[in-house]
């Protein structure tokens, strides 16, 4: 069995309308993958940055997967939310990225998007917040049925992911 270690952190996010942000993240894999150790989903703390406009989470990720096939390579999916001073949470963006497939350190910028409602919903959103959310969060990392969505671009999430591979060369995988 080949093994994959993902060791890194979700650094933070920038480019969103407001700063007080947190992130819900998860890792999705195909059927041939088995999580041996680590937490494959979580939620970061809410950061209110004092200097600059980038919110920093430094949320550690340490995952150990075993696999028998290359299909279903791990993907990290993210939901960035805004937490205001009243304690309300508002969705600010969805995004996903594949875990890099070569060993070593990688710095990844994941762009995010938000579903756009009708013009009435957009008008209400500028005044009271809120807005449409995906009913099925699988759509964040799958391409099926995306053609029905109308979305707008939001900010960027920075991740630093380190990948360690074991036994992939024994199965003939080149990288």
């Amino acid at each position: 069995m080949a093994e994959l270690h993902i060791i890194g952190q979700i650094i933070g996010a920038s480019g969103f309308p407001q700063n007080s942000l947190f992130c819900r993240w998860g890792v999705h894999t195909g059927g041939a993958w088995r999580l041996l150790s680590g937490l494959k989903e979580g939620q970061t703390q809410v950061d209110i940055p004092q200097i600059g406009e980038m919110a920093y989470w430094s949320h550690p990720i340490d995952l150990h997967y075993g696999t028998k096939g290359l299909q279903g390579w791990p993907k990290i999916h993210l939901q960035v939310w805004h937490h205001d001073s009243f304690g309300r949470c508002q969705l600010y963006g969805y995004g996903y990225c594949h875990v890099p497939s070569s060993p070593g350190h990688h710095r990844i910028s994941c762009e995010t998007w938000r579903p756009l409602g009708s013009w009435q919903e957009q008008l209400a959103q500028t005044f009271v917040g809120g807005g449409p959310q995906l009913r099925n969060p699988d759509l964040i990392y799958s391409g099926a049925d995306r053609y029905r969505l109308h979305t707008e671009a939001m900010g960027t999430v920075e991740l630093e992911l380190g990948v360690i591979m074991k036994n992939f060369d024994k199965y003939g995988v080149e990288n």
């Binding site: 650094i11 939620q43 380190g162 360690i164």
Partner: protein
């Protein structure tokens, strides 16, 4: 006698806590410690320490510690890879020692010189009255054990404020990782900057 393939690999960390960038605070010192998984154990070197107290000079707004880090770890499994947890403390207006930031970063795993800029954050009280009384009494919210900063669980309900950066540089060597079968990627080209540059 034939040598059997090893089951334990070593990670040698040679680095330094270079300094910090905190625009609003001065006269700071830094405590560090390592957090690692169950399969890991330090073999030589110090697991924790405290730096000197440093202050900004008239011509530079940077705080410099230049504090050495020399530790070696052994393990059988990369899971639980060691993290360096850093906490910065300084005096407030009334002279009490309060925390100015917590931060953590994974030790790199590719040989070579790498610099990490660690964002530092403090837990934030939610109520304005609590903010005022904590400022008045010099008792800011603190973590009872700074090592929680290295964990991902239980962060969902905490509000924090990021207010500075600490720069750490690492020179890493690993032994026997390739022999056991782990591929950690190409060595880093000289002087790689990681995370955000100082502001």
């Amino acid at each position: 006698m034939a040598t059997s393939s090893p089951s334990v690999f070593l990670l040698a960390v040679n680095g330094q806590i270079e300094g910090a960038n905190f625009p609003e605070y001065d006269n700071l010192y830094c405590k560090y410690c390592y957090v690692y998984g169950h399969d890991w154990a330090p073999t030589t070197g110090l697991e924790e320490g405290i730096t000197q107290i440093t202050c900004k000079s008239s011509h530079s707004h940077r705080l410099i510690w230049n504090f050495p880090l020399e530790t070696t770890f052994k393990s059988t499994n990369p899971y639980g890879w060691p993290q360096l947890v850093v906490s910065v403390y300084g005096p407030d207006v009334f002279g009490n020692d309060v925390v100015r930031g917590y931060g953590a970063t994974h030790i790199p795993f590719t040989p070579g010189l790498q610099t990490r800029t660690i964002p530092m954050f403090v837990p934030e009280p939610t109520w304005r009255l609590q903010k005022f009384t904590s400022w008045l009494l010099g008792r800011r919210p603190e973590y009872t054990d700074p090592k929680v900063v290295a964990q991902g669980e239980g962060r969902e309900v905490t509000r924090v404020r990021s207010q500075g950066f600490v720069t750490v540089s690492f020179n890493i060597m690993t032994k026997d990782m390739k022999k056991i079968g782990y591929d950690t990627g190409p060595p880093v080209p000289s002087n790689t900057q990681s995370a955000t540059p100082d502001r």
